[in-house]
Symmetry: C2
Amino acid sequence: MNKIENYRHLLRDLEEGLLKELTEKGRILEAKAGQVLLQTGQNIRNTMIVLDGLVKLYRENEEGSEFFMYHLNAGEGCALSLICDRTIKASAVTAKADTDAVLLVVPVEVTENWMRQYRTWYHFVVGTYRKRYEELLETIDHIAFQNMDERLEFYLRRHSKALGTKVLDLTNTQIAQELNSSREVVSRLMKKLSEQGKVRLLKQGIELLKI
Amino acid sequence: MNKIENYRHLLRDLEEGLLKELTEKGRILEAKAGQVLLQTGQNIRNTMIVLDGLVKLYRENEEGSEFFMYHLNAGEGCALSLICDRTIKASAVTAKADTDAVLLVVPVEVTENWMRQYRTWYHFVVGTYRKRYEELLETIDHIAFQNMDERLEFYLRRHSKALGTKVLDLTNTQIAQELNSSREVVSRLMKKLSEQGKVRLLKQGIELLKI
DNA sequence: TGTCGCCTGTGATTTATGTCACGGGCTGCT
DNA sequence: AGCAGCCCGTGACATAAATCACAGGCGACA
């Protein structure tokens, strides 16, 4: 089990030869929820593609706060790890498995060549970069232009969409960290959202209603 | 004048055939300082490379505030306009000539093919995307983790570096808009910086000292 | 049962920032 | 000269958010 073949539907856009190489040269990595996959400052030696589960990307500051950037869902690749040239650069972000996850890992020496060799790989990489760039833009919008209440709503919507569920198993503490805010603030805002009927606060987790 | 040949030193990394195509299929665009080159919502039909002058990229919100993202210097390309696939997407940013500028403009139908055809073009595009992605990350750091005073210093440093001068001809009003703050706040902080000896406030402009 | 470690809620206070309301300077135009 | 349209600085105030201090709930475990 956990062979690449099991995940073909995710890679259906890739041409045959590439799939073959992926199978030969790629390695499957199983990660437990919470496991750190890529750490700030660490060198990037491998291209990573998520095959199953959910990965979260963070930007870290000097004190170690982890600011949430975006999710990687099954079928998506880590933009930073897709393009590395010769000049293998240190990672500027932290990637962490949010659920148990399965990753496809390929050395950058290999994927570098695919870029010219396989048209579909090129499309995959370009599409990934574009998408992540736009996701960063959206993140910037929110921190630059919006107040915490709107940012909180956006955060909840994003998580609901990525996880495909209306019930989020998150603590206020955790949300506060990822928004670079404080628990008390999130607690108060969450109460407001609940009074507005936008969420229901469960003993364990948050149910999104009209949000 | 203003032939592509004059800017060869900027494009020195590109292979011969590509330079030839650039010369044949590219078009020179001269822009006046302040001219808008790419507007939010506008379709991207051309790849743009800055040959001379300085271009500023902004993210706009609904009310029309323009949040400064980063500069494009001579020799640099607009990341968004480099990758467009078939699915020509609307621009999510505004680009504006900060000084008088000269741009090299090539239809995306043409550059799309270069990606596979010319190795040096591929490197150029990938390098551009990487750099812009990292520049966005840096921007996020600052708005997510820092106070206005540090953000202001960063803004000034960035501008000094991009313009290659220690004297910036900017008004407080303009700075406030680009940081999405207010004139009064910038005014007070600028006074503080001047008291700390980090800048000198000229009648016309700001001189950076130990910053 | 007690206590530890997690979580939550909430008032009081402080701080950073945005907003309002001034006054005043400089330039260019008529 | 007089006015319009920029720009700047500054005090007073309003607001969002962070911080402090506390109390209490709940599950794990000895």
